[in-house]
């Protein structure tokens, strides 16, 4: 890679350092190529921007607040700001991307939307924008996840989406993604695939990161208003595929003074065999259309990860993050199921905010940083915890 290349933008072929690209069968080539040729042009159109910004403001509820968390700041002896993506419509950052992609899909003349979902957050965000625009919506979801996430399945159905169970392989997110890709192969002309994270073949990682970059764009001016300076000392976010992290880091990646902290899910513990900490356990490989770090066996078969939070339960990581890890630009930490749970309860008690379990991982990592009163830490509060109540209730009952 060219030394001067930014951490933000991939090469024309979609590479962040060694990671990225488009490893797809020929059956997907035309659709992916069409997207690659047109996404930037469409996203830069004045009319697209006007409609996108309007929806972000009036429908999603942006800008989301940057909240100075006083009691947590005192506890960690620092200045902690929470970027409140949990206050977005549908309860998480996911909708920043689906609003953008539905507008893009309509401009490409697509009539049918497909998506994959794990916990159901991206599925709900996709079903929501499809309802808004009156477009047919099909969501693939692992059979196991359908059982585990009944409320989100009900939300998608109420919004008019068809939820199709993925019954192959491990019947979770990875397999739902395979099924969505297959659907796209079988419906090559009228369908757009809304991927929910910064994964997949180029241009998806870059496109999703751009749609999520609104998070860090707002953070800059909000922090300036509150502290007189645009730049935090640290930005902290949890990483599964990595979409909220990509958005929270985006406008700080080329600011060397800002420490980039990504927190992965360690599950039962890194060495327990039940973990989803891809940068610690993965090797370079190809999954779902891009070259990145992938959790796999010695024989190159993709393995099933484990995390208590379905949103982090993915055996890969976006190529942008793989590059941040390998180049050392990002610091990658991890939190176990137990640490994430404990952190979520602490945030609920101290700040009156029930975070998603995914975000609990980001909070759990604050303990691992040596913070001071001179620091300005921004943590991306990626989603609210309503969807995790069943898990939280088990802890309270125990």
């Amino acid at each position: 890679m060219n030394e001067t290349q930014s951490y933000i933008s991939p090469s024309p072929q979609g590479y962040y350092g060694r990671f990225g690209g488009a490893y797809i069968p020929e059956m997907l080539h035309r659709n992916v190529e069409e997207l690659k040729t047109r996404y930037l042009e469409i996203m830069h159109e004045a009319e697209f921007q006007r409609e996108y910004q309007q929806l972000l403001q009036d429908y999603v509820g942006r800008p989301t607040p940057l909240y100075f968390a006083g009691l947590l700041s005192r506890k960690y002896n620092t200045n902690l700001f929470l970027k409140r993506e949990d206050l977005c419509h549908t309860g998480a950052h996911k909708i920043n991307n689906t609003v953008g992609q539905i507008l893009l899909a309509l401009r490409l003349g697509k009539k049918r939307i497909i998506a994959e979902t794990g916990a159901g957050q991206h599925g709900v965000a996709t079903a929501t924008v499809c309802a808004l625009k009156g477009v047919e919506c099909i969501v693939y979801m692992g059979e196991k996840d359908i059982e585990r996430q009944a409320p989100n399945v009900a939300r998608m159905k109420m919004l008019g989406a068809k939820v199709i169970p993925a019954v192959s392989g491990s019947k979770t997110l990875k397999d739902a993604t395979n099924e969505a890709i297959r659907d796209w192969i079988n419906n090559p002309s009228d369908t757009h695939y809304i991927i929910g994270s910064v994964v997949g073949p180029h241009p998806y990682p870059d496109m999703v990161a751009r749609f999520q970059s609104i998070i860090s764009k707002e953070t800059r001016w909000q922090l300036k208003e509150k502290t007189g300076t645009e730049l935090p000392t640290h930005v902290v976010a949890c990483v599964g595929g990595g979409s909220n992290a990509a958005g929270a880091f985006y406008h700080f990646l080329d600011e060397p003074s800002v420490k980039i902290i990504a927190v992965e899910a360690a599950g039962y513990g890194i060495d327990s065999g039940m973990s989803a900490a891809t940068t610690r356990l993965g090797k370079e490989g190809v999954l779902h259309g891009s070259r990145s770090l992938v959790m796999q066996t010695e024989d190159g078969q993709v393995t099933e990860p484990h995390s208590i939070s379905a949103g982090l339960d993915y055996p890969g990581i976006g190529p942008m993050h793989a590059h941040l890890f390998e180049s050392g630009r990002g610091q990658f930490l991890s939190a176990t199921d137990e640490e994430a749970l404990k952190a979520s309860f602490e945030v609920a008690k101290l700040e009156g905010i029930i975070p998603a379990l995914e975000t609990g991982h980001a909070f759990a990592a604050l303990d691992q940083l040596s913070l001071t009163m001179e620091d300005r830490v921004v943590l991306c509060l990626s989603g609210r915890g309503d969807k995790d109540l069943a898990t939280y209730m088990k802890v309270m009952d125990a």
Binding site: E26, H29, S168, R182, I185, V286, Q296, G300, V302
Partner: protein, 256 residues
């Protein structure tokens, strides 16, 4: 001359290429399946290396891959099984698989080993064209293997010509899914296969996806040098414990 070129020189019509999954239905059945295919009239064998996330395959082949992986199939195990297969299997054999397991095994090591045991060519549907040209083409040529690209009804003419130039052995024409049912309109596929014929490609063309019986095989053969059967054969193996019997019956149904 390569076995594939030799085959197409001797016979350029009604070529029957049958796909089977290594290690399916049982770990040790690989060679038996291949032998049965040869004995019952397959001109060419496409041997699939099972992968956990086979994006370009349908549910039937994915299920056979999962079973093969459960049975313990790996690339080293496959090469051990293929060590002496050229003693009695003379038809061309190509390996089909996905890039990730090959990267872990080592791409050059894989090609060297494949050539050593007598494999003729490879299909890896998720290799990007630019990476093939920059990295893999020279290695594949070094070991005298053929490499087969796929084209689809969505592939532009310009790109078909380029993929044909980069391929050797044959070109794999993915039919649209509409070829599977006699009740569906075949005309778009017809137009597409006509277009392929008119492009005067350097490689013979075999049509795959949706070829499941005598009727679809005959139709495909009208417009191309032959066809590839995958899922329908895997289904036949699924429903019969006796590999020889199942294979004989299935191929009889196609060819006679």
């Amino acid at each position: 001359m390569s076995r594939l070129n030799n085959l197409f020189q001797q016979k350029n019509k009604r070529i029957l290429n049958v796909y089977c999954t290594a290690g399916y239905p049982t770990l040790q059945s690989t060679i038996n399946v291949m032998r049965s295919l040869q004995e019952n009239g397959a001109d060419l064998i496409e041997l699939g290396m099972p992968y956990s996330d086979p994006l370009a395959d349908g549910p039937v082949i994915q299920a056979s891959s999962s079973k093969a992986l459960q049975n313990g199939m790996t690339i080293p195990t496959l090469f051990a099984q293929l060590k002496d297969f050229r003693k009695d299997i003379t038809v061309p054999v190509i390996l089909m698989g996905y890039l990730n397991p090959l990267l872990q095994y080592g791409f050059e090591k894989f090609c060297a080993k494949a050539a050593e045991v007598g494999i003729d060519g490879i299909i890896i549907p998720d290799i990007p064209m630019y990476e093939f040209e920059q990295e893999y083409r020279a290695i594949i040529e070094k070991y005298g293997l053929d490499f087969i690209f796929l084209v689809t009804p969505e592939t532009s003419e310009e790109r078909i010509i380029k993929l044909d130039q980069l391929s050797s052995g044959f070109l794999y024409a993915v039919s649209s899914s509409s070829i599977t049912g006699s009740d569906k309109d075949f005309s778009p596929v017809e137009t597409y296969l006509h277009k392929l014929q008119s492009l005067k490609l350097k490689n013979p063309v075999l049509v795959g996806f949706g070829i499941k019986d005598k009727a679809t095989f005959e139709t495909a053969c009208k417009y191309a040098n032959g066809a590839i059967i995958g899922s329908a054969y895997i289904k036949a193996l699924e429903s019969d414990d006796n590999v020889e019997m199942a294979t004989r019956e299935f191929l009889n149904g196609i060819l006679n």
